[in-house]
Structures are given as C-alpha cells and as structure tokens.
C-alpha cells in the first residue's frame, strides 16, 4: 500500500482531529461520572477502550481505502457520537452497554461500506434494485407478523428480541436510488414545455415520479403514522429533484403537495393537531402538564441551562420524557448550556457543509447528487428535530443524527458517513481508463472556484 504524500498529510490531519475528538468525548464521559457520583465512571476503561479502538480502526480503514477523503467527516461524527454517548450514559447508565454495541456495529458497517464500495459509481449500476429495497424498507413495518407499533407509530420491525427501524437505512437507499435515477434523467425532467408566470413547467408526464413519491410519503404518514419519516422522505425527494433539474417549478409543486399532505394529516390525526396546538401554546396552563408537558420540559431544561449550563451530571434532564432519543438536544442544552448547543449546531453545520463541498467537488453527476442528497438528509433531519425541541417549528419525532440513543439510526448514519467519505475521496485505485479523471477533478474544482 503506497499512499501519496498529500494524502498522508490529509490522513494525519484526520488523526489529529480524531485524537482531539476522542479527548473531548472521553473527557465528557469522565465528567458525567464526576458530576453524578463524584468519581470517574468505572466503565471508563471498558467502554472507553472499546470505543477508542473502534474509532482508530475506522480511521485506519479510511487511511487504507479512502486516502484522499475529506479528513473532517470521521472526527466530526466521532465527536458527535462520543458526546452523545456521554449524555446517554448520564441519562441512563443502563443504556451505555447497548449504545457501545451499536456504535461498534456502526463503525464496523462504516468500514464494511468502504471495503465493499471502492468507487461510489458502482452503486449507479443497481438503480432499481436499490430503489426497490429502499421502498421495501420504508414499508416493511406494515408487513404483518414482523411490524410493531410503538407508541402509536408503526415504524419498527421485530424479529425475536431484535428490533430496528428499517426506514433509517431505507432513507439512505432511497437517496442512492434518487441520485442514480435523477442523474440519468435530469435533462429530460428539466425540459420545460410551458410557462406559468415566471415558472417553467415540465411536461405533465414527468410529474409522475413526484406524484409517486408524494403518494408513498402519504402511505407512510397514514399507515405507519410516522410523521418524521414521511416528511424526511418527501423533502429529500423534492430537494434532489430540484438539484438535478434546476427547475424551481418542482420546488413550488413540492411545497404545494406538502401543504396538501400536511393539511390531510392535520385533519385526520389528533396527534398532529396536538403537535400544532402545543407548538403555538406550550405555556398554556391547560396544556403544560398534559400534551405540552414534553416540549415545556425541553424548554425549561434549556432555559435552566442558560449560557454555561449546569455542568454534566448536575442538572435534571431526566424530567424531559425521551431525553435520550428525540430530546437529547434539550439535555445537552441544560447541562452544557448555550455554549454546548451552539457547539453542537456548529458540528452539524461543519459536517453538512463538508458534505455539500464533497458534492460540488465530485467529478460525476451521480456522485454530486449522492453527496448532496446524503448531506441534505442529515441537514433536514437535524433541522427538523432541533427546530422541534426548541419550538422553532412544530415537533416531529425523529432522532438527532449520531447523538441520540438508538441503534438503527446510528448504524444507518454511519453508512451514510461512509458514503460521504467515499464520494469525497474521489476514486481510489480507479482503472486506467479513468486516467483523465484527475483532469476532470481539476476542471471541476476550477469551475467550483
């Protein structure tokens, strides 16, 4: 294995950042123990060594298989996951073991993805297989026998003691499908045949895919009652369609269809109406101990945290229902304060913007769409859940990527991360026919400025 000097420099940067991330994560974990029990947690050696081992292993795999990759991705994700682990341990030490396993499994799949997919364009050959798989994953909870309903939402699949949310990996598969499908058809879909004011309208039959996606997201909303996945799925579809074609008409139509779907959902489901009512009147005394309890507790937690926070282990984030999953951001806000929440927000911005940069830097249309789609899904999910728990928008229950407790989400996001690393790495060991691809990259970079 020979790694070129500039690549080695990138990998060393990654290693340095990774060490920093690990120090912060392990420090947070130790502080939780000191805050809660007045001593360094006994699990520090066990969990800590395992996880650090996993992180270093992931780094070595990147060094080996994606030497040109952007060095920011892995350390940023590791820092998010490491802080998430500390917070989850702080909320419920009993979850630490499972979260360690999920993290290690996620890192394993991260490595496996890089091993299996040496060139992201391999995925471009299986457009419909991957698309079908994605739809199956999205609809799998509806299958009789294995589908499970947890608190009103049917988004789990259970086989024996194992439970997971197939939609989490489904959304990654669907992004791959969309990148491939739209890359092949983007010129066709962009053809405008008539105009409506400033909007150039595509041919009606080219609206079919949009309508299919809309129908699918409504199925998810009405049959699985999963507001989060439905929103995420439709949102990513509309955004990628627009990115591929540059036709604002798709965005306008998408927003229109979203409004119709949202109205249906609002009229059909009490829990959607409750979300909106709570969003508008969370401090109403009639709601605050009832439907609005969770959101009110989230806001109390963050307000109590103030600028500097109470300190890890010193607050009462346990008062927030679901603090370890959907509301983990509020727990961070209480114990780490505004400094912590803004820092977390900046980590996401960093991760997402590096994703978009990888998209712009990708030499091929598929890679561009893929990286843009994966970054968008991270961005949407992060915005929807943080916006929800901070009452910027009505609450939609989804996990905070990399930080929330939850195996399916963590594993799926690690695969997503591996794909971003892969696209950012360009092509390692590409066959000779691609000799001119370096020129291509250079040309693309120049264009990108």
């Amino acid at each position: 294995m020979s790694v070129a000097a500039p690549d080695r420099a990138r990998r060393n940067t990654e290693l340095a950042l990774l060490i920093l991330a690990i120090l912060l994560a392990v420090g947070a974990y130790a502080l939780v123990g000191l805050g809660l029990e007045g001593k360094v947690p006994v699990g520090l050696a066990g969990y800590g060594m395992l996880l650090v081992g996993g992180y270093v292993f992931a780094h070595l795999v990147v060094r080996w298989l994606a030497p040109q990759a952007d060095p920011v991705f892995l350390p940023t994700a590791v820092l998010l996951a490491g802080l998430g682990f500390a917070i989850i341990y702080r909320l419920d030490p009993g979850l630490a073991g499972a979260q360690t396993l999920w993290l290690l499994l996620g890192l394993g799949l991260f490595a496996l993805t890089l091993v299996a997919i040496r060139d992201h364009r391999q995925l471009d050959h299986f457009t419909y297989t991957i698309g079908l798989l994605g739809i199956i994953m999205l609809l799998l909870p509806l299958a009789p026998g294995i589908g499970r309903t947890v608190r009103g939402a049917r988004l789990w699949v259970g086989i024996g003691p194992l439970q997971f949310q197939p939609a989490e990996i489904g959304k990654v598969l669907l992004v791959i499908f969309l990148a491939s499908y739209l890359n092949a058809r983007k010129e066709l879909l962009a053809v405008a045949t008539r105009r409506l004011g400033p909007l150039a309208l595509p041919e009606p039959r080219h609206l079919a895919p949009l309508l299919v996606a809309w129908g699918l997201s409504l199925v998810v909303l009405f049959l699985e009652r999963d507001l989060g996945s439905s929103l995420l799925f439709f949102g990513i579809f509309v955004v990628m369609l627009w990115v591929a074609t540059g036709r604002a008409a798709y965005l306008v139509l998408g927003v229109l269809l979203f409004a119709i779907g949202a109205t249906f959902g609002y009229l059909a489901f009490d829990h959607v109406q409750d979300r909106v009512t709570v969003w508008l009147n969370v401090f109403d005394p009639r709601l605050i101990r009832d439907e609005g309890f969770q959101l009110a507790q989230s806001l109390f937690a963050m307000a109590t945290g103030g600028i500097a926070g109470t300190g890890l282990g010193e607050g009462q984030p346990g008062f927030i229902p679901d603090a370890h999953t959907d509301f983990v951001f509020a727990a961070v806000g209480e114990e780490l304060g505004l400094l912590g929440t803004i820092a977390l927000l900046l980590l996401y911005v960093l991760l997402i913007f590096r994703g978009y940069r990888a998209a712009v830097g990708s030499p091929d249309g598929f890679g561009q769409l893929l990286a843009a789609g994966l970054s968008t899904i991270l961005a949407l999910q992060t915005f929807v859940i943080i916006g929800g728990v901070t009452r910027l928008i009505p609450l939609t229950g989804i996990t905070l990527p990399f930080v929330s407790y939850g195996g399916s989400s963590l594993v799926a996001n690690m695969v997503l991360l591996a794909l971003l690393v892969r696209v950012s790495s360009g092509a390692v060991g590409r066959p000779a026919e691609d000799a001119d691809s370096t020129m291509f990259v250079r040309a693309a970079r120049e264009r990108g400025g």
Binding site: G306, I307, F353
Partner: protein, 491 residues
C-alpha cells in the same frame, strides 16, 4: 447542479442560523422567564434543597416550624410542630409547592430560604463546601403560654383574640378560629395538598384559611365608643360633658329610632355625662355625641387610630374602614350609628388591641410586630426589630381621662367580668348587631394595669358563639380577655 447545491447550503445555513438565534432567545434573553414557570419542577428542587430556617416563639424553645430531611428528590420537608388548635397556622402560614406561601413563610421567605443578601457569604461557603444551604430562623414575639390560653379561651367558638404589649407593639398572642393545620399543605404529595386545599374552601369568606384577626374585619359595635369618646375629648368635651338621656333617639331624616341596648333608659336622670354613658354603654348618648362633634372630628380621630390607614405588619393586615366625612353629610343617621360602631365601621381584634394599647400608653400607638429577631443558622442575630411608633393618637391627659372612664367600665359597668384582683383593668365591651334577628358579634377591648399597661387585649366572638343571640361583649368576651391579661401579668 453546483448552483443548486450552493443555494441549498445557503438555505440550510439560514435555517441553522434561525435555530441559533432561537437558542439565544431561549437560553439567554428569555431564560429566566421560561425557567421561572411554576410547572418547572427544577425550581422546586432548588427551593427544597435549602434547609429552610426555623420559626420559634418568644421563649426560643417552642418551635413552630422546622425542616426535616426527606431522602427524596425534594430534600427538605416543612413541618409545623405545634397543635393546629393553637392557631399558629395563621401566623406562620404554610409553605406549599403547589399553592405557594402565606403569612410569615411568604413575607420572610428570602431569609427563611437563605436568599437574603446578608446570608450570601454563608451561602457561598456552603456551596463551595458542597453543604446544604441553611436558611435564617425567625424569633417571634408570640408568648406560647398566652397563645395557648387565648386559643383555649375561644374554644370552638368562631372568633379571634389579639394581645399586644402596648409599650412596644409586640404581638403576644394572635388567635383566629376556625383554624387549620398547615402540615398537609406542605406535604410533598400533590394529591394530598390539593385535596386538603379544596377542603379548606379557599377564597370563601368563611374559610379556615382566613384569619379573623388580621385578614378580615367586622362591625366593632360599642367597643368603638372609645374612639368616639377620644374624638370628643380631643375636641374639648370632658368626661362630664352631658347630653339628654332619653330611652330612644329619633334619628333625623328617618322614621327609625335608635335604642339603648336592652331598650331602657340609662340610669342618671334626664341628663347623662360621658363617663356614665361609657360605663353603661349608652347608645343614645354616643349617637348624639357623634352628631354633636360632627363627622370631621370623628373620622379624623378614627384615622389617627389607623382607620382607613395602612398599618405596617409582618403578615397581611387588612385596613379598618370608616367612611370619608363627606359621606356623612347627607346621611346624619349613618354618622349616629357609626358613632356606636355600627353601620359603616369595620375593624378587627388586632387593630382594636392597638387602639386600646394606645389609650393606655398615653395616646402613643405602636406599630404591631410579630418578629423580634432574625438569626442566622449559627444563632447569631442578623437583624433585630425595636419598637416603632405608629403615631400620637391623642393628648396624654385625654388618654388618661379615657383610661379612667374605661376603668369604671370594668369596676362597675358592663365589663366587670374582666376584673383582676389587685389590678386596675381598663376595658370596653361591644355587642355588634350583624343583621335583624341574627346573633351579634361580642367584643371586648382591655388593657392592664391601667396606670402603666403591660398588655392590651381585644377579643371578638363572632355570631354569638356558644351563647348565640344572648351573647354580649361583657359575658362572652370579657372573661377570655381577663384570663389572658391575668396570665400575662401573673408571669
């Protein structure tokens, strides 16, 4: 596609910027307002982390309220240790995590909960050392023995007793019946707190939570004649000031008559002087006297005694009422009836004890107080409260003359039940009509020893008490005042 991707990135930058602004709002700008919502359990946890200061009676031994460690997430539980029947609930108030605080628990909360500025250095040390913060304690002026005697004197009757030291304003006993137990309201079990609170019928006028001694007022009846007499003395009419003595007074502008108590003529012939009229509590005389001196003189004197004025006190203390002089101009009968403590005059026992005390004290009325010292957790005095004058209510010679008239009430008038062997007691009875046919409020105001009073007492038994419509101030209330004064002077 690059253009779209760049725009997408900018769009998300804007959205994340909105989140960042919102976080600044929640965690900085509006943080206090949001966090201080009473549905935020964190506030309780913080508040209950403090070992709230004790409240003790004047003997420093009788602990009225303390805090006990619970082992739960609300670390300390407030306890009220004395028998609820002794009426300390209306003095300490309660400390409830649902319904807040009342009385001393509220007015001295910053000290009790260690939030006062004087306690800051100690708090800082406690925090650094990781110790539980301790609140400051209150030492009250209440004499537990007198409080017990006053409460037992009332027994089950609805009413109130107030005893003060006229020289200092220190409240020695303050009892109101019905009373309540603050303990269930300070419970950490929300269901128990809510159920108890509902059973106490809050906001109803007859609720046990309402102190008849300080929170509300009643017509004082003839006990108000000491105010009318003071006004007459101050306007130059002496104890020998005579007026006609018919059995009944035809009230001007009306067809109604104003009768003496019991309906007869006061003894003494066709004319009667002020001293005899006070001794016998002649309604006809004092109604005429009120009209004679006029509304301005009467109301001004009442105001000097604190009617329609805010008298400072450690716990909520309602203002006694008397109308403006202008209100009497077109309604002379109201003036006549107010002169005998009916119609538009309202007061309570704490205020009447202050007035009695002022007369005994040479006219100087004191500001009442319930707290004598605030002590830090180590017992060092942080603040102590000395006597404070409310004001001069009448000239000393007039106060002495009125005292002598009140002595004759107890020696040979309506208030003989208040006599104490070897002590000259000054007093005045009152039997206030509430409604036609309804049982009266029985009043007694007294102080002793008359020449240099050490205690002033006022008692009211509402709606007749045990004696029903037969109740009078002399029979129902004077004996209670007597036992309290005797105990105070005997000790």
């Amino acid at each position: 596609m690059e253009r779209q991707i760049r725009r997408l990135a900018i769009a998300f930058l804007v959205l994340f910027g909105a989140i960042a602004l919102n976080l600044n709002y929640i965690q900085v700008v509006a943080a206090d307002r949001i966090a201080n919502n009473n549905a935020n359990r964190r506030l309780l946890i913080q508040e209950y982390e403090v070992d709230r200061g004790d409240i003790v009676a004047a003997d420093h031994r009788t602990v009225l309220a303390d805090s006990e460690a619970t082992g739960g997430d609300l670390k300390y539980q407030r306890r009220y240790l004395e028998d609820p029947e002794l009426g300390y609930g209306h003095i300490t108030g309660y400390h409830s995590f649902i319904f807040g605080r009342t009385e001393l628990e509220q007015s001295y909360n910053t000290y009790l909960s260690a939030r006062a500025a004087e306690l800051f250095p100690q708090r800082l040390i406690d925090q650094i050392l990781g110790r539980d913060e301790e609140g400051a304690g209150l030492v009250l002026t209440i004499d537990p023995e007198l409080q017990r005697i006053a409460a037992e004197g009332l027994g089950g009757q609805e009413g109130a007793v107030a005893a003060i030291d006229p020289r200092t304003g220190a409240v020695l006993a303050l009892v109101s019946n019905p009373t309540y137990d603050p303990n269930p309201l300070a419970s950490h079990d929300p269901d128990e707190v809510r159920t108890t609170y509902r059973q106490l019928r809050p906001r109803q006028p007859d609720s046990p939570l309402v102190s008849r001694a300080t929170d509300t007022f009643f017509p004082p009846g003839s006990s108000f004649k000491i105010v009318t007499a003071a006004a007459a003395l101050e306007s130059g009419r002496g104890p020998d000031f005579t007026l006609p003595n018919p059995p009944s007074l035809d009230l001007p502008q009306t067809t109604e008559n104003l009768d003496n108590f019991g309906g007869g003529q006061c003894s003494g012939g066709s004319q009667i002087d002020m001293a005899s009229a006070l001794q016998q509590s002649c309604n006809v005389y004092f109604a005429q006297l009120a009209m004679e001196i006029g509304a301005d003189t009467l109301v001004e004197q009442a105001r000097r005694f604190g009617f329609s004025e805010d008298i400072p006190f450690d716990i909520p203390f309602v203002e006694s009422e008397i109308p403006d002089p202008g209100a009497f101009e077109l309604d002379i009968p109201a003036l006549a009836q107010s002169g005998i403590g009916q119609r538009d005059v309202r007061t309570n026992v704490l205020h009447m004890a202050l007035i009695g005390g002022a007369i005994g004290n040479g006219g100087v009325m004191m500001v009442p107080r319930l707290v004598s010292e605030i002590r830090d957790p180590d017992g060092r005095i942080l603040r102590s409260f000395t006597r404070e004058e409310f004001g001069a209510t009448m000239r000393p010679e007039n106060a002495r003359a009125l005292t002598e008239m009140m002595v004759s009430v107890v020696e040979a008038g309506t208030g003989t039940a208040a006599q104490i062997p070897g002590v000259r007691v000054a007093g005045k009875t009152g039997t206030a009509q509430t409604a036609v046919g309804a049982a009266p409020h029985a009043w007694f105001v007294a102080f002793a020893p008359a020449e240099a009073p050490e205690i002033a007492v006022a008692v009211v038994i509402l709606n007749g008490g045990d004696l029903g419509s037969e109740a009078t101030g002399g029979e129902a209330s004077a004996p209670i005042a007597q036992t309290v004064m005797e105990a105070a002077l005997g000790g």
